[in-house]
């Protein structure tokens, strides 16, 4: 940890502590984890930009069905490549301390594949397919049925897609979401 400390000034650490849901120690710990992804690169430049493939080496992300979406959402350059600050943002949102609303906000963006600010039928299909994994395929009619059920439950204004307000409404009611949408540092 001593090595990690030398890479940051006290001021930077204070900034990170104020701007994330982490304490200084956790920030340093996060940096260690980030460094472990590409030791020589991050050793040179603490805020090095790692390509998405490197970031996806992180164990929790590696097996996550939405991994590329997560990287894209948190990447400041929008292409999935993450700097340490992006990584820190990501971990902060996934941390236990982050409130539900913040999590919901990012979850919405993760699930919104086509980026039209609505979770539409195509987004839902994509989510379901990714959830079931690459090996198991639901039949088309089953997915159809499931999408329809989801929309029936959540699409309050009946426009065939979930707006953020509707999404947030569901998340509010779902007590499991907060537990599930969490990566321990």
């Amino acid at each position: 940890m001593g090595q990690g400390k030398s890479q940051f000034t006290e001021e930077e650490l204070q900034d990170y502590e104020d701007l994330t849901y982490f304490t200084k120690k956790e920030v340093l710990y996060a940096h260690q984890k980030f460094k472990a992804l590409a030791p020589e690169k991050v050793g040179h430049n603490k805020n090095a930009k790692l390509p998405m493939t490197k970031v996806l080496q992180y164990p929790e992300l590696r097996v996550n069905p939405f991994r590329d979406r997560i990287c894209k959402v948190f990447s400041s350059s929008n292409d999935g490549d993450c700097t340490f600050e992006d990584f820190l943002d990501m971990m902060s949102v996934f941390s236990e301390m982050a409130p539900k609303a913040v999590k919901a906000e990012h979850a919405f963006r993760i699930f919104d594949f086509d980026g039209d600010d609505m979770i539409g039928v195509s987004d839902l299909r994509e989510v379901i397919e990714r959830l079931c994994g690459p090996e198991l395929k639901l039949s088309d009619s089953e997915i159809q049925q499931l999408v329809q059920n989801v929309l029936e439950e959540a699409d309050l204004d009946d426009d065939g897609a979930l707006s953020f307000a509707e999404f947030e409404h569901i998340i509010d009611k779902s007590s499991d979401f907060c537990h599930a949408f969490r990566i321990r540092l």
Binding site: L131, G133, E153, L156, S174, F177
Partner: protein, 799 residues
Amino acid sequence: MSGSNSKNKARSKKQEGWEEAGGEFYQELYPGGEQELFDNLQRADAAKLATLLPSKQARNTTTVKRARSQNERRQSTYARTTQSRDIHLSMLPDLSENLSNEERTWEEIMQIKAMPVPMNQKRELKARLQNATKLRLQGFEQLQWRQRKVWHRFSIRFSEIVGKLELWQSPMREIEGKFGTGVVSYFLFLRWLLFLNLAISVIIILFMILPKTLLHEIHYPCEDYEQNSTICCSNYYMTKNLTDSNVFFDVIQGTGWMERTILFYGVYTDQIYSYYIANLFQSELYYNMPMAYILVAISWVLLSLIAIVKTAARGFKERLVENEGQFYKYCNLVFGGWDFCIHNDKSAKIKHKGIYNEVKGYLEEEKINEERQLRTRESQILIYFKRLLVNIVVFVILIASGVLIYFTFNYSTDKLNEDTSKFSENLNEVHVENSNQSHTEKFTLRLYKEGGLFFGQLENTLLEFLPFICIVVLNIIVPEIFSYLIKFESYTPAYVLFITLLRTVLLRLSSLAVLLSQMYTYVRDNRFVCSYNNNDPSKLDCWETYVGQQLYKLILTDFAVQFVTTFFINLPRAFVARHTNSRCFKMIGEQDFYLPKHVLDIVYTQTIIWMGSFFCPFLPIIGTIFYFLIFYIKKFTCLTNCTPSPVVYKASKSKSLFMSVLLLGFIVSIAPVAYSVAEIFPSVNCGPFRGYGNVWEFVVQTFEGFPFVIREFIFRLGTSTFAVPAFAVLLFFLYYYWAVAAANRHMVTVLKNQLVLEGHDKQFLLNRLSAFIRQHQKRCERRNRASFADDDSIRQSSR
């Protein structure tokens, strides 16, 4: 004073904010003004039109709005910058303009973290906020703010320390990564029980065990003329010769020397201790042991009850919210289905499979429901018949196991009584012989006798443990039968879980009930004996200690069986499963982590602890140790022996399930204890309540020693003049809340309908608008073409 002050301040701030906001509001929302909006409209095709709606523009604000309601206007501007990242940072609003003071700035900085923008923008924002000119707080306010800041920092540090102290963090993480949050919630529950027992243990140690060991009892001599007085009886009981036997057997049975230790009810005194603390107080101090005993019991009952109810209430609230949306199960599955904490490939694969199964299950359930309505009469009757049959079989099994326990208990007590009478004769013989023989002979003989004694003791021990072994074995075998039987009943999957759990709970509790009733009859027939002139070994000197010993043995057996099954049965099974390809072996060896069974295991242990704590005050301490070990046993089961279950366990659902099972266990265990406290005659020879008609009588007597006012007050609470109006008021409140709830429910449906209508309106308007724009564009194009043509003609003409 300060409260009202700050409230006023807040209000005035808000007003200021609104006044300022009034003029700029629209400009802020649509930064480019009318022109830009129109341009946007022109550029947008009809489908994308919806993204331009204000509600979409400002959606990110909802995130921050939750955190604070002030300064709405400013947030909407933050939010928009996040919407379209390409807007340059210079577009960020100048935040400094209406910052009032340091405290506000600090608050703002604390809020930044909730904003969905990349870190460099956050930092820029922070720097901006920090560098902006701001008013310094003066005097008291400055102090208050400082305090707040310090408190904030302190709470962060505190939570950091607590987080570090948190027990079993890394194992939890490992389990979570492999099995998901549902299983982790089980381990959290285990930890919760550990802490509950720890708390109870602390109470017991502080108020019972410490005084008992530190303070000195006064020994009154027994006068011959009143042989049946409590003093004589207990003197005799405490000094009576104990059968000398092997230490190991004593420890596992709680007999022999163990019986006279602080483990059991019997040794606690009925005296009021008096003591001096030399330097502090001049006068004598008193410690009323019986009072402490009953108060400690009451306080741990209350403590457990409050802890359960508090935790259950939280779960209940969540459940209620969820139940309102029974129909949210699909959304929950789709959006909350993946555990983001899963970090290895194998579990990820299993999780995929689990979700897949659940989707299938839900869809099938729907189909089944549809089918049920279409089901023919015959098949319906057939299913009902099957269910009836299975239920009868289950009932018979339950009764049979009850009967089995009954007989084994009787058998073992009968045998033991025979043995003890033989045994004491034997002992006498040994003594007689000893005195007659030469030294060497005596020695060999003693060795021989002791060898015999050892085996005799082993047999005795086995007999002692027979009922408990029987119970535990039944607990293992019968649930397997139940889970086999339930396949015939074609229930829905959720209901299957519930009903197997219910049946298993019934089995466990009924076996306990049989044991208790057996003990009760045994105690009823064999007590009231003053030890002073009691030479009949089958009679109980101290029945409370006896009950305590039984439960002590039960908990030991339970623990031993868990240990043995995990390491000597399930581990080899898992080993076989891992290293074989044969299908048959795989079937024997493979185990999944079936959550309800493990929940029952620990709830059962807790039930025994509650049941026995009054008779064996050491039980919670033993329980704490056991839970600590059980955690590792279960972790081993979970990580090494088992593969993740194909059933998806939801954290919230399982938590409320645990709590309801625990509550059931609590009620079942406390009821007999309460009965014994209120009704059964305490032993004359031992314990803090010797000489009273029942334990409660002691409480009543103490109550009568209270000052008149308090007595009268409490007495009045019990009379009908108070109870009836109180009841009426409670009813009234109940009705009131029910009515409010009903009204709210009605309101929700009305609003939902309205929302749908609004949605339709919006779509309608958007369609009209896009049609209009298309028309407008066409007209423009036509006009442009016309003007080009005009230009051309002009140019031509000019040439």
